[in-house]
Structure formats: C-alpha cells, structure tokens
Subunit: 332 residues, 2 copies
C-alpha cells in the first residue's frame, strides 16, 4: 500500500484545516486551567486535557464560525469554553459512574480521589463561564449557560431512568439530547452567533450539532456492545452499570417472558452472573436490536448532513458533512 | 420579661426590612430550581433550599443594592443567583466531606446518593449562570464567574492542605477567602454594581463582604470546637476530618515534642482514638488557641464595619454593621 492509500480520517482533515486555531485553543486551555493557588488543579486537568481527546467539540465551534466567514478572535475563546465544559462533565461523570478508565487511562478519581474530581470539575465549569463572558455576547452566554443546565438535567434524568425497565425510546432520546447533544448543538450554534450569521444559518448549525450529537451518542452506546475494546472503553459497561441504552430498550420491548425475567434480574435487581453479558448480547442479536439501533444512528447522521445544506457551500461545510459520516463509520 | 426584652437578631431585623424582596427571591428560587424533565432535581434542592438556611448571602446582595439606592428589579435575580451558587457548593461539599448531616438534617448524599448531589449541584451552578445573564451586566458576570472559580480553587486548596501539619495561617486565610469570603464579597459587590454606585462604594462593599466572610468562617471553625452542637454540626468534625483550622494551626505552632507527636498521629496519620478530641481541645486551651482565634475573628468583624463607613449613612448600613457584630456574637 502506497501513501495515497492511507486514509486521513475526516476529523483529522478538519484538524489540519483548523491547525492554527486549534493551537491557539490549546494554548488558551493550558493558560486558563492553571491555578496559582492550587497546583492540584492543573495536575488533574492536564491528565484529562492532554489525554488525547480529539477536541471534536471545540473543532465544531471553530468550523461553524469559519463556515460563516467569521474573522474575529472570539471563536478561540468559545472553543476553549466548550472544551472546559466537556472536561468538567467528564470529571463529574467518572465520579457518578465510578469509572476506573477513560480513554484507556486511569481516571482522575482513581489517581487522586472523588473529591478532587468534583472540585476540579467545579473549577473548570467556573473557568468556562469566565471565558465565555470575555466574548461580550449576551446571546452566547444564554446559549452556553442554557446548554450547561440541559447537560446536568440529562445526566440526572439518566440517573433516575437507570435500572428502570419501563424506560422508553423517548426518554432515552431526552437523556441523549441532554447529556451529549446539548453541548454539540451549543458548540455549533455559538460559532454561527459569533459570526453574526443569518437566523436560518444559526438554526441549521444548531440542528446539525443536535443531530450529530444524538448520532454520536447512539454509536457510543452501540460500541459498548460491539466495540473492539480498543477505545479504552470496556465492552458491557452500560450493562454492568444497569444503564438502559437504545439496544437494550429495543430488545426489552420485544422480550418474551424468559427474557423479561433475565432483564429484571440483571438490570432491575442488578444480579449479574458470569455469562450474563454474553447472554444479553445474544438476546440483542436475536431481536435485531443492534442492527436496528445502527439504522437510527444512520438516520440522525443523515439529518445532520441535511441541516448543513442551509449553509453556503464551502470546503469546511464538506468536512462537517464528512464528520457526520465518520461518526457512524466508527461502527465499520 | 416583656416583649421589649425579646431580642430580635440582626439578621432577622434585616430579613424584616427586606421582607418583600426576600419573598420575591424565594419565588424565583422555587421557580428556577424546577425541572420539567428530571423531578429528582427539585426533590434534592427543595430539601436544601427549604431547610431553614438564613438566606444570609442573598440578603447581603439585597441590602447592598438598597444601601446604594437601587430601585430596579435585578437585585432579586442576583440574590437568587448567589443562593444557587451557595446551594450548589453545599451539595458538592457534602460529597467531598462525606457528611451525614447539614443544618441538623440528613444530607442529600445520604438521602439520595453522591451521584444526585454531584449532578444536581451542577444543575444549580448552570441555573445560577442563566439567572445572572438575565441582568445583562457584563461586570456582574465577571464578578460572579470569578467568584465561582475562586470558591472552587479554595476548596481544592483546602483538600490538599488537609492533613498537612505545615499549613500556615496564610494558607488558612487563602482557603477561607476562597471557600467562604469570595461569595460574601461577590454578593455585596454586585449589589453595588447593579446600583451603579461609586467605585469607592463598590470597593467598600467588596471589602465589607470579604471581611465579613472571613470572620464568619473563623467563627464557624471555632464553633467546631466550642459550639453547643445545637447548630446541627457535630463538635470536632474538622478534627475528625483532619482539616487544619486556625485554632489547630495556632496550637501546632506552639506544640512541644509530645504534643507534636499527638498531632502527627491524629492529623497527619489519621489515627484517632477515644479521648483524642478531648485531648486536642485541652491542648488548644492550654495554648490559648481558641481565645486567640476569637480575637482574629473580632478583628475581621471590625474591618467589615470600618469598610461600611464609605457608604452613605442609612438604616440598612446600620443593619449590615450589626450583622458583623452578630457573626462574632455567635461565640457568646
């Protein structure tokens, strides 16, 4: 295979096109996560921020602003804001999920303690608000503070829906819209707002981010059952944590009496024995729950791409569209 | 004793003077802590918000605005914002401290779980930012987002300073300024800012809040050793949690070899036996550490009152001054 056969992934292409801006974002992030008084803070955040995240969310903000012809400096602040909010939620998620690994590395709550994860997460939230105020746009503030509230609301809803076999696809979608899509859509929307784009374009950017985020999370939930384990995530985490994701919800809707008893035992009562995860996956396969979920993810990716048509044609627009394809291509 | 001998406490007097505004704040709080999607949120927050807190911080904002002749509507939003930030930090503190009681009632993390406390705290933080954006004042946003970062920084610093016998009075003051005084000073400062008061008056309000907050926390730390237990706080919590507060720092500075070994055993190594708390209190008494700490608290209360002299004379100013006296009067 020659060089021309090496596939450059869409998010890597976008990263190249936004190279200078991303470097500025990284510098700003490093600068603002510092703390004169509490060295524990940069220790914890460096661990996460340097851990090889793809910077997908900040890239969306940069790309959205660029696609709308923005030439000012504030998309850098907004991209850093979005990454700070994301990192803060990761820190708190790890406490809530009692996770031991994230992106293939031990989590902060394991390396330090839950206390540090909670408080450093709070610090990053506060810093994100400081950063966004620097853009002097009330509209941006409304969007991002609203998104933060929606994220927390989605996480709480997920908490109360866990272990509840009556969780519907609607509730699932609400959780996903909150915990994942709200930040994606805010990331793209503020890119358009800062560029003073037309209302239809701003709406299209919101719709793109929303659909992309939903698709992204559904794929994530699928990979929890059929991933290779190379993503640093363990197969079956959601099953073990009794989190009802779309594949399980679809299978439970079609369960016969024996299967229902199995779900009650493993999810509702949390009694999980050796072999139960394999058995769960077999039930999912039997009811086509994984294949059906894949179709839903593809559908959301299509919605994301369709929304982009309201934007003027450009290389960046094409890259955003390719990202929507790539998000579901993670499923091979 | 006739009615005229019944003492109305200064914060109760202030609450009466601000009755209408406080009612509006309470309505706004109840309105904004609701969540259409996640009923767990108002459950958790109601438990805290209704738990009979004195609303001291929001009263400070209302009083500061009033003392500066403010007649607009936004002091209500700001007061609610300040209470939301306070409530969010309480929820997260209880997780960090693994507390079982707050204000004499079981904590949210005990009634629900740590997860709910973390996520509902995040929700309240986000809602506080939404609320403050409604005031359309960039300066207010800078002050309150800055205060939120300082609070988290102070909490992280406290975490890393715990169990460290070399903690100095300077570090202690830095922790207290962060975890407690930052919100007091922001609460009073934004009251002046929203009223468009003179820079000297705004500075004086900041100084008052800062000194009041420091005094308040020092008294709290003293009550942890000499309180009656009627505040819902257990005597010796800080000692048990190995948190070095001013009385301990003062006693450790004067420790002889035997006492030093005692502090190493109980605080650094965390080996605490029956009778150790009583022994610790005896050492504190021996070195006048409690009496000396009381003098420091009184000194900060005096600073708070002195700052108020930059404000025009008014009934409200007198009440704020009385509150500074009352904060230390809690020590009897």
């Amino acid at each position: 295979m020659g060089m021309d056969n090496v596939t450059v992934k869409p998010h890597e292409k976008l990263a190249l096109a936004l190279e200078a801006e991303l470097a500025a974002v990284n510098t700003l992030i490093r600068d603002r996560m510092a703390s004169k008084h509490a060295p524990r803070i940069p220790e914890v955040t460096a661990h996460l921020v340097e851990a090889g995240g793809k910077r997908l969310r900040p890239m969306l903000t940069l790309a959205a602003a660029k696609a709308c012809g923005y030439t000012g400096p504030y998309h850098i602040h907004l991209a850093a804001t979005v990454e700070f909010i994301h990192t803060a939620t990761l820190l708190h998620d790890d406490v809530v999920d009692e996770s031991a690994q994230r992106r293939g590395r031990p989590t902060a709550n394991l390396l330090w303690d839950n206390k540090s994860s909670v408080l450093v997460g709070d610090y990053l939230f506060a810093r994100s608000f400081q950063l966004m105020t620097e853009c002097n746009s009330m509209r941006v503030m409304h969007i991002l503070s609203g998104a933060s509230a929606t994220i927390a609301e989605g996480e709480v809803l997920q908490l109360t829906a866990a272990q509840d076999l009556s969780t519907s696809e609607d509730i699932y979608l609400q959780v996903v819209r909150g915990k994942t899509a709200a930040l994606f859509s805010a990331a793209t929307e503020v890119g358009g707002v800062i560029a003073d784009a037309d209302p239809t374009v701003v709406q299209a950017l919101f719709d793109y981010g929303d659909a992309l985020g939903v698709s992204f999370q559904i794929v994530d939930d699928l990979l929890d059952f059929e991933g290779t384990g190379q993503t640093g995530k363990n197969i079956g985490d959601d099953f073990r944590e009794r989190k009802l994701t779309l594949p399980m919800i679809k299978a439970i809707a079609k369960a016969d009496a024996t299967e229902r008893a199995f779900w009650v035992k493993t999810i509702e009562k949390g009694k999980q024995d050796d072999g139960d995860l394999d058995h769960a996956i077999n039930i999912l396969r039997k009811h086509n729950a994984l294949a059906d979920t894949r179709l839903v993810a593809l559908d959301w990716a299509d919605k994301a791409k369709a929304a982009l048509l309201a934007l003027p044609e450009s290389e960046i627009r094409q890259m955003l569209s390719d990202i929507a394809d790539y998000v579901v291509a993670r499923l091979r």
